[in-house]
Subunit: 238 residues, 2 copies
DNA sequence: ACACCATGGACTGAAAACAGTCCATTGGAG
DNA sequence: CTCCAATGGACTGTTTTCAGTCCATGGTGT
């Protein structure tokens, strides 16, 4: 809101299109991969099915997939049990990215601190099924056994899993989107072992609070966790 | 999350397109009008400018505008001081709408209760400029002087104004979107004078808390306010 | 070996969306 | 009274996107 007037219609009326379908499809898929939704080795849904879900023609989806294959993110194979497979993360993905404007950085961090504590609280208050609990624990275990290359994606996946437990589709979408933006920020700063270890302790504590059904604790732990990341980011990105 | 498995990629990987550009453009404009961003009598930005902001060609925008004119929402005039003017609200707008699924209703109400209290708190904690304060007070005054026909739109506008003060663009967008969905729900139930008066008292109290810079109070008042609406809705829409 | 069939690959014609250009209208400035 | 400028209106050729169809590949099960 630096320059815009209050009451500016354009702050509220958002763009209908932000690029062509092809580019937006790439962006969606890339986000899903970066955010750990499709870990390396996993097969994407079949083209026909994926195209339908994305609301995009198969031709356009295939253009996007070809581009991602070209860039080294995907391995596409034909045949009876062929498919589109996710390759090991390659660092190149972020190189061309432009650092965010300070206002946008602030926006991401603020919005995240609105969404994720609420998600943790809702998750703790929800009636969690056995499969829900197992999903959260599986994401946590994956994260704890991550190496440097896979950490960011699994971290995102864990945070999204909490949103999934909240039961609100809108919250899942918003958290996913915000996580992808935070990830882009985090990729600009180093991954320090000390921070990493501390984060893992926090992840464990948050998980326990959620599984205990202690909403207030889950929320407060999540706030601490996010503030740690936020101050780290603010420190590095002066 | 009723039927979907936890970890379902499709809960996270959202559609790229949800219709053709023409339809989505109509939806965006209609939302902006319903949400009180463009009150009756106001002129929309010129076609060339609006098209650019929406990321849509002028031809497509014009198709959408023509449709909205046809439906009685807009008055389009040519000439030196011509333009696209918003007409008085007509009730027909909602008639064809299908009632939301219970899960979606729940989602809207939950997500709203995440966003808006946070927005109120952030607004109160922010360094508010004079113009920001005036904007909020203007929206409040409009709302207090509303009649039955204009109430919903001005109510939305007021809630969005609070999000604007928070300074987070993502929050503005999310609140706007959620307000539009809540409005659709509210249009299915009667507007009772008693509720209306109570709401107006709450709006005043929230505004005062924000202008006082009392974040905790603003947040807590907003929670009360939303829960009133939520239980009203849950009562009517059994 | 062989047929099967789910998957990716390739092509075509139609429809949608776009960018660019020029026209028509109309109230105000000079 | 005339001209100007800002606005909507209309047309054209190009590019993108789409839906539909058929082909190619290569494990699986018989």
């Amino acid at each position: 809101m630096t320059a815009a007037e209050y009451g500016d219609p354009y702050a509220v009326l958002r763009p209908v299109r932000s690029g062509n379908t092809f580019e937006e499809t790439i962006e969606h898929l890339l986000q899903a991969i970066r955010v750990g939704l499709f870990p390396p080795g996993q097969k994407l849904p079949a083209e026909r099915e994926l195209a339908e879900h994305l609301g995009v023609s198969r031709a356009t989806l295939r253009e996007a997939l070809a581009e991602l294959q070209q860039a080294g993110f995907l391995d596409i194979r034909r045949g009876r049990h062929g498919g589109t497979y996710v390759l090991e993360a390659r660092d190149a993905g972020r190189q061309g990215s432009v650092p965010l404007e300070p206002a946008q950085r602030q926006d991401v961090l603020v919005f995240r601190e609105v969404l994720e504590p609420a998600a943790a609280e809702l998750a703790a208050q929800a009636q969690l099924s056995t499969s829900a609990r197992e999903h959260l624990l599986a994401c946590l275990a994956d994260l704890e056994s991550a190496d440097r290359g896979s950490y960011r994606a699994r971290d995102s996946r864990f945070h999204i899993a909490i949103a999934e437990l909240s039961g609100s589709q809108s919250l899942i979408t918003a958290v996913t989107d915000t996580r992808a933006r935070v990830s882009a920020l985090l990729d600009e700063i180093p991954l320090l072992p000390a921070n990493l270890e501390h984060s893992n302790e926090q992840h464990l504590a948050i998980t326990e609070a959620i599984l205990d059904g202690d909403g207030a604790r889950a929320k407060s732990l999540m706030i601490d966790h996010l503030q740690g990341t936020a101050s780290l980011l603010r420190g590095f990105l002066t």
